[in-house]
Symmetry: C2
Subunit: 235 residues, 2 copies
DNA sequence: TGCATATTATTTGTCGACAAGAATTCGGGC
DNA sequence: GCCCGAATTCTTGTCGACAAATAATATGCA
């Protein structure tokens, strides 16, 4: 196979991996706003970027559309899904309820291995806070709560919660240029309290902490959207 | 193929419609257990059945997999997703919570057009009960509650609830050969009470009725699973 | 100059074919 | 007769190409 010809030139990638690569990378780029809402998605451009045919690209796009991360207009363009700033209430409602439910279920159903995963995510989040890395904070915070939900062992809640956390990542990424206030450390402490409630299987406390944490986050996002420095001008 | 040639022989179907046709039909067949859990899904077989290429078939399958209705083993077979009888508790938990939340939100956020849709679904359900049509009862009951959720105007809850109602359709279809007890008429009455609470915007009553209705259904499914005639043999 | 229409161009949806992986069948050795 | 390995078959994943639908551009007319 050295001299004459190479019948299969350079597959260089395993058979079913193409879709996953494209899906994962596009998903991250959308959630980190590397691809901002409204960005056009061109199949042929992606095809040559990833050195593959349009077929696996399209499959990845269909999956992303199924999760609501991209919008497809038939026979026309496809683009990154917009963030709906006008109707935030449903998002906050769902997020708060899922925080409460998943934290409570984690206290009820967790197993030892779950606690290890939760503590690992919390350590990553604390490290991101210590490093003042806003992007890492956002991602590891979502991973921390996803791990708690995983310990709750309800796949239906988990899939909804994952979707909400993804959407939350986009909102937070939009407003956080830098983390320079005291809130991140407060989040670390609240996370610790949640872990303690889960460990001791105190379901009531877990639910209460989940609710408080959710309201904290909702309040913060709302403040960020309005602009937190709006009243600092002395009259 | 008659004389010389037919360049565009007979498309006979609009451009983007193929996927939707396959998706809708397969979805119905899965939910009505025409395709029971575990049934193998053969792409080429579907391709010749629907007279189209494998490409739109595959896209429909990717979508169904995204909703958890089919399972795909890489490089191997794809089949209708199994119903998990051992872990029903998470399903019941999620179903009950969504009944409560969506009914309450409907009482809070509904608009006049929503009420028309809800009443129309309720009329269809009542007709199915009167006709003793078990399949129609299952489908129209799910549609009724989906309409209520729609009036609640929370797309996040709606998508989870739709998925749960779909799963419920499969469970119910599995056990209901015939509807010969008094429960269907009771459901009609409970539906009417829920409508009344929604109309008067009594959120507390709506939530309570949603919960009661959910528990009614859960209890019924559990009874069906165990076998409702198990204690009828006199000792 | 402004507008309606025709033409071109771009993008998506669909197709048939090929190749890789896994399951199955077949053959050989003990 | 039974078990293990090789060849075959069968299904899926990927590819390049074509066609339809829409958007963009150009053309003709008032």
């Amino acid at each position: 196979m050295s001299a004459t010809k190479t019948p299969a030139p350079a597959p260089e990638r395993k058979r079913g991996s193409g879709v996953k690569v494209v899906y994962d990378l596009l998903r991250d780029e959308i959630l980190d706003l590397v691809l901002p809402p409204g960005s056009p998605i061109d199949e042929v451009q992606l095809a040559e970027r990833f050195q593959m045919s349009r077929t696996p690209i399209r499959e990845a796009l269909v999956r992303l559309a199924g999760e609501g991360l991209i919008d497809t207009l038939p026979n026309r363009s496809t683009m990154v899904a917009n963030l709906d700033f006008l109707n935030m209430a449903p998002f906050f409602d769902a997020l708060t309820l899922m925080y409460r439910v998943t934290t409570q279920l984690a206290a009820q159903n967790h197993r030892p291995a779950d606690l290890e995963a939760i503590r690992a995510r919390q350590a990553e989040f604390a490290a991101a806070v210590a490093a003042q890395d806003a992007l890492a904070m956002i991602a590891t915070n979502a991973a921390f709560h996803a791990a708690i939900a995983e310990a709750g062992r309800n796949p239906y809640f988990n899939s909804l919660f994952s979707r909400l956390l993804d959407e939350g990542r986009r909102f937070l990424r939009l407003y956080y240029q830098s983390y320079d206030d005291r809130l991140p450390q407060q989040f670390v402490d609240e996370h610790e309290a949640m872990i303690a409630a889960i460990v001791t299987r105190d379901t009531a406390a877990a639910e209460r902490l989940g609710k408080a944490h959710a309201e904290q986050i909702v309040e913060q996002i709302q403040k960020l959207m309005v602009g937190e420095k709006r009243l600092e001008i002395p009259l």
